[in-house]
């Protein structure tokens, strides 16, 4: 059987429902709109992934105790090693091991469940296991439920990857730098903010770039829960017009275009923030 196909690139330019040139829907706007949703899902998810992931990654690098001051609590001798009395009616509790453990469990869970399964868990399962009102809110009452569910899912998943990158970045900094930063009198927060993180983030620009590209490409999974992003719109054009190749070519080109721009931009950023004199960080 011979393969016959009517190429018609002009469908991609349909802006109105103009039957005369073969358009039954404004495909061009569909693509623009789908592309817009893709960008919207990816960028909102990235905000979550970057900030939450950084937090998780930092927690996983903490070794020394973190003291939480709790007023008016009588310490029991059993937990003496992680509880200190301050002498003015308060106690300090070491929650370091708890935070560290939490972050480790988080990364293990979110990195090891397939993303598609996570998407379904958030959208189909979660509303059923919470209270009825909360379930209703998740499914219908909150604004743009599919969009925000997809954003949360992608963001929380990618946060586990960002967290690992941040952890690796911080761990690649020598113990001597920690010592030097502490020795001049910086508090632990300042040690991270002024010394460790600025260097760590420079080191992990390449993995962070791929994590961002990952979020952008994985955003296509949002179609499974009904977000009309680029891939969903492309399929819809295909169904309406039967111009399969044109529709998917357009989507492919757009995906590649964005990833290429991001890679190029990050290359420039990397050069800009490179530390003078340090070839290993990409200065030359």
């Amino acid at each position: 059987m011979e393969f016959s196909y009517n190429w018609d690139w002009s469908v991609l330019l349909c802006t109105v429902e103009d039957v005369e040139i073969g358009c039954i829907a404004p495909y061009f706007y569909w693509i623009v709109e789908g592309f817009g949703w893709t960008i919207a899902v990816a960028s909102a998810a990235w905000v979550i992934a970057f900030s939450w992931g950084s937090f998780i990654g930092i927690l996983r690098t903490l070794e020394a105790p973190i003291w939480l001051v709790v007023p008016f609590l009588k310490p029991s001798m059993k937990y003496k090693s992680s509880v200190i009395e301050t002498g003015n009616g308060a106690v300090m509790i070491n929650i370091g091991w708890f935070l560290h453990g939490f972050a480790t469990v988080y990364v293990t869970i979110f990195r090891n469940i397939p993303l598609l399964v996570q998407m379904f868990l958030w959208y189909f399962v979660l509303p059923e296991v919470v209270s009825k009102e909360a379930g209703m809110w998740l499914k219908r009452e909150m604004p743009l439920p599919e969009y925000w569910t997809a954003v949360a899912c992608l963001g929380l998943y990618t946060a586990s990857r960002v967290g690992e990158a941040v952890r690796a970045g911080i761990n690649s900094i020598t113990q001597g730098q920690h010592y030097a930063a502490m020795a001049i009198g910086l508090t632990r927060v300042q040690v991270y903010r002024c010394v460790l993180l600025p260097v760590a983030y420079r080191i992990i620009i390449p993995p962070l770039t791929s994590d961002f590209l990952g979020i952008f490409k994985n955003s296509s999974l949002a179609l499974t829960i009904g977000v009309l992003e680029l891939t969903a719109m492309t399929r819809q054009i295909d169904e309406y017009s039967y111009q399969t190749f044109e529709a998917f070519t357009a989507a492919t080109v757009l995906y590649i275009l964005v990833t290429a721009i991001v890679m190029f931009a990050m290359r420039i950023v990397e050069g800009r923030v490179a530390i003078p004199g340090m070839i290993s960080l990409g200065a030359k």
Partner: protein, 260 residues
């Protein structure tokens, strides 16, 4: 986060009470005991050189003084403040003790000036102008004024180490700790660093210096501590140490490092 004011009223150290004091300090890494009942005292203005074979616990000993390494037994006080006390504000205590490392440990992502400014701004709460003025004065003193806008990796080892000393001095510390400050340096750069340290000692700075530069010890030190297997084996005046009143192990160690 509230910046802590760094104005602990430093009670004029009464004579007899050391600026740095260690009483039967022991420290373990797991089952391995790194410090064994170490006791010593460094008075204000004293220069103490610490030497001993590799792995004897010299670095650990001085890291215990500013709380960079915790210890399990004994008492360490700095200018009257107990280092091991959980209620002690360690960052504030550390800001009063300058520390210089074998591998310089300048912060690679900021300029020389910013390296010296950083803790002045963040810890002492000085304003940018005040901090920069202080940094410039210190760079002048260590002879690196012309390098102020460079980044650490663009400097030679000796230059980096002098910047590291300036960084410590910028906090107007009550004492300075040095951990083998010249052992990562090429021979021709060792003296430029030792000269700065000698000058510092002559100005009356309280110093503990881990080093194998016995020439420096002879010229500058008041006392010499010799460590072996986590113990302080000798703790005597320079004259006693170099005058031959030393134990066998110290003797053996000295003959090794002086002949090669």
């Amino acid at each position: 986060m509230p910046e802590t004011e760094n104005t602990t009223p430093s009670v004029e150290s009464s004579p007899g009470v050391g600026m740095i004091q260690m009483e039967v300090v022991s420290k373990w890494y797991g089952n391995f005991q790194v410090l064994v009942n170490c006791s010593t005292k460094v008075d204000k203005g004293e220069v103490v050189v610490i030497c001993g074979p590799s792995g004897s616990g010299k670095s650990t000993l001085i890291k215990v003084i500013n709380g960079l390494e915790p210890f399990q037994e004994g008492v360490v006080t700095f200018d009257g403040t107990s280092v091991g006390d959980a209620a002690t504000n360690l960052p504030m205590l550390r800001s009063r003790i300058g520390m210089v490392f074998q591998s310089f440990e300048l912060f690679p992502h900021i300029t020389i000036t910013d390296n010296i400014n950083l803790a002045q701004l963040k810890v002492l709460g000085r304003d940018e102008n005040e901090a920069t003025n202080r940094s410039m004065a210190l760079l002048e003193r260590v002879g690196l004024m012309d390098q102020k806008d460079k980044f650490p990796a663009q400097l030679s080892g000796g230059q980096q180490q002098r910047v590291a000393i300036a960084r410590g001095l910028a906090m107007d510390p009550a004492a300075m700790l040095f951990d083998e400050p010249t052992s990562a340096l090429d021979p021709e750069m060792i003296n430029e660093v030792l000269d700065v340290m000698t000058e510092l000692a002559n100005d009356g700075m309280t110093m503990m210096v881990v080093t194998h530069e016995m020439g420096f010890a002879k010229r500058v030190a008041d006392r010499v501590i010799f460590m072996d297997e986590g113990r302080i084996e000798e703790d005597c005046t320079k004259d006693e140490f170099f005058g031959g009143e030393r134990g066998d192990r110290a003797q053996e160690f000295l003959s090794k490092i002086l002949t090669h």
